[in-house]
């Protein structure tokens, strides 16, 4: 039983590390690689939870996660990067060090919130929940501190990984919910992909700072 805990915590920790490292990366290629690693570890965590909880559904979740997030989405993102020629570093809204300090603070907040609030439940869920909340908050922070649309999408996807992590940690979470979440992400990805193409067509760049300037000047 203790192996269950240790391994689950280890996998959660690796996911959190990947999410945190995304904050420190300027280059889109590195962010995509980190995202891919995160999704890979997430599918491994889903398999492990399925094994530990004897839930066939979680195996299915793991397979979907692997196929969609660890293979399909990174491949699509890399395609976009290549097609738009965005290999160079992207612009950040906050200095890197500041955003990393903020990320640390967010992890602290997540632990501070989850651990006392869920004192009564079993420990497996508690720590996993704290890690999942940290990943969600880090994903949100990533969306805020990056000006590039693609980087914001990666933040969004990373946030969604956090939600899935929380879902697989919960014993008895129905499979339908996870499936719908995965579908939602796919849809969002398609929509955003189309949206990116439109932006690119209109402005010849994916850097949103020009758009923000126009917005600020009034519509």
């Amino acid at each position: 039983m203790s192996l269950t805990f240790s391994l689950a915590h280890l996998l959660g920790g690796i996911i959190l590390l990947c999410a945190f490292l995304q904050l420190s990366q300027r280059r889109l290629a590195a962010m995509i690689t980190l995202y891919q690693a995160e999704a890979l570890v997430l599918s491994a965590a889903a398999f492990w939870q399925g094994f530990a909880q004897h839930e066939i559904n979680l195996y299915l979740t793991g397979i979907i996660t692997f196929a969609l997030k660890a293979v399909l989405l990174p491949w699509g993102l890399r395609e976009i990067v290549l097609r738009f020629n965005m290999v160079r570093a992207v612009e950040t809204a906050l200095p890197m060090a500041v955003s990393m300090i903020l990320g640390l603070a967010l992890i602290g907040i997540a632990v501070l919130v989850v651990l006392p609030t869920t004192m009564s439940s079993i420990s497996l869920t508690r720590e996993d929940l704290a890690i999942a909340l940290s990943v969600v908050l880090l994903g949100l922070l990533l969306m805020i501190v990056r000006r590039n649309a693609l980087a914001q999408i990666i933040g969004f996807l990373s946030m969604e990984n956090g939600l899935v992590l929380a879902a697989i940690g919960m014993p008895g979470m129905p499979f339908v919910a996870e499936f719908s979440v995965a579908l939602l992400v796919l849809l969002a990805f398609l929509v955003v992909g189309v949206f990116l193409l439109r932006i690119r067509e209109h402005f010849d760049t994916l850097d949103l700072s020009g758009l923000e300037k126009i917005e600020r000047r009034g519509r």
Binding site: I109, A110, V113, T117, L140, M143, L208, L211
Partner: protein, 557 residues
Amino acid sequence: MRVVGNSIGLMFGLPGQGMHLHLDALSLLFGCILLPQVVAASVAGMRASVAFWAFVLGMALALLAADGFTLIFGFELMSAASWLLVMQGDRKPATLYAGVAIFSGACLIPALFLPASSLAFVLVALGAGAKAGLAPLHSWLPRAHPAPPAGVSALMSGGMVKVALYVLIRYAFINLAPAQQPWWGEALVAAGALSVLIGALRAVLEVELKTALACSTVEHVGLITVGLGLALYAKAIGDAELSGVALQAALLCAVAHGLFKPLLFIGAGEVKHATGTTSLNWLGGLMRGMPRLGALMLLGAAGMAALPLGPGFAPEFLLFHAVIGAAATGGILARIGFSALLAVLGIGAALALAAAVRVIGLGFLGRPRSLHAAAAEDLRRGPFVAMALLGALAIPVALVPGLLLDLLNPVIMLLAPEAQTPPLAYAPVTLLILAGLAALAAGFVQTRWGVRGLREVPAWNGGFGRPPAWLPFGDPHTQASATGFAEPVMRVMGKGLLGAGMTDPAERFLLTPLFRVQTRLIRLAERVRRATIRERLAFVFAVLVAFLLALGLGQGG
């Protein structure tokens, strides 16, 4: 329509309740104040206006209401209709007026349904006071009242203000009586004294005739409120005689003001009709071209200045009596306060006299300052009938106020059941007879022992220079202008109270900060509208983090 108890229920209004009308002594008194003004205003030319009759209907409903809903309905109908009428005259004050009306409604609606408490009184005083033009919420009145046609101005100044005061009286004296405190009366006295001072001062300084009259309305509302406040104070501390005298003063002042102020406003409208302007700097010499208007305006101005033998004297006399009586009661602070009030009222009376002298002396006497003023024709028939009616009704108020006070007794008994009403110690008829006897005696002495025969001397022309040949009416600049006449008052009091820009302190300390807050809010709203997606996300994120932080700290602590 059905009769329930002593009130009449109407078949419309709130579902399941209807509206209830009820006539008691107080409603009757204010109805009687209102009636001649409505007749006069309709005769003076407002007969065909739908908004005018809606305005009258609203006032009547507010006066006759037996329940809170009917009262608010009538009050707001009155506000809305008068807003329409103001907007017909001028758009800019109409917006300010609508703002004040909304404020007063927002204060009154909760107040009318609260249980009797100090909070309810404060809300009623704010709501009704804003509508009545009580300082410091008075600055809209000199802007909005002159805007509409003269008949409506007359009814707004003489009638609408009274309806607001009626609401204040009904709630402060009857509905909220179980919870009454002495400080209610003191607060009303303070607001009234401030109104008297500001209103009278601005009435001397304003150049526009109608604006000056509106400022004088602020002053008279202040006088009435001082009387009401004294009565409320006396009722709370159980001083029967003081409350009686103060109520007599307040109610009689309301009656007198309801007659001479509409008279003056209709007269101002006629001045505008005849000369095209109401600016005192362009009038003058109207007494020659418009003798009937001049005589009636003289009567009204005598009331406005509270001259002895005029309609405004008896109430002011009673009010001074009441204040002197109040100064003899209570602790040392009350004595000092009421003595200071006496001084303020004295200054107010002097300024009111100056304002009336200025209106008559600069508008109706002297030389015409413009060709229009020189060529003015006398009153048209409708306004003349209206003014004559009001003037005729003002004469009994001026000459037999004692009889009128006896008629007021039931109202006073209703408002303050234990009040004592001493007979009036001022007998204008006797005074008039004595003055007449003295004049007769002087005439007799002059004819009997005076200088006989005629002597030809050059007429003294008031110190004017000879009119140049190219100006047939004389150079208007050789006589004092309205601004020049007010200059000494401006130098002594105006600079200190109104500041160098001659703006109302209420505008400086109330409207300007409000305007600044509005500008800031608009900027904030614009900033939010223009926020980028990232900024909106960051805001939501910050709120989420703050929430989580609060949750975590709350749980951990």
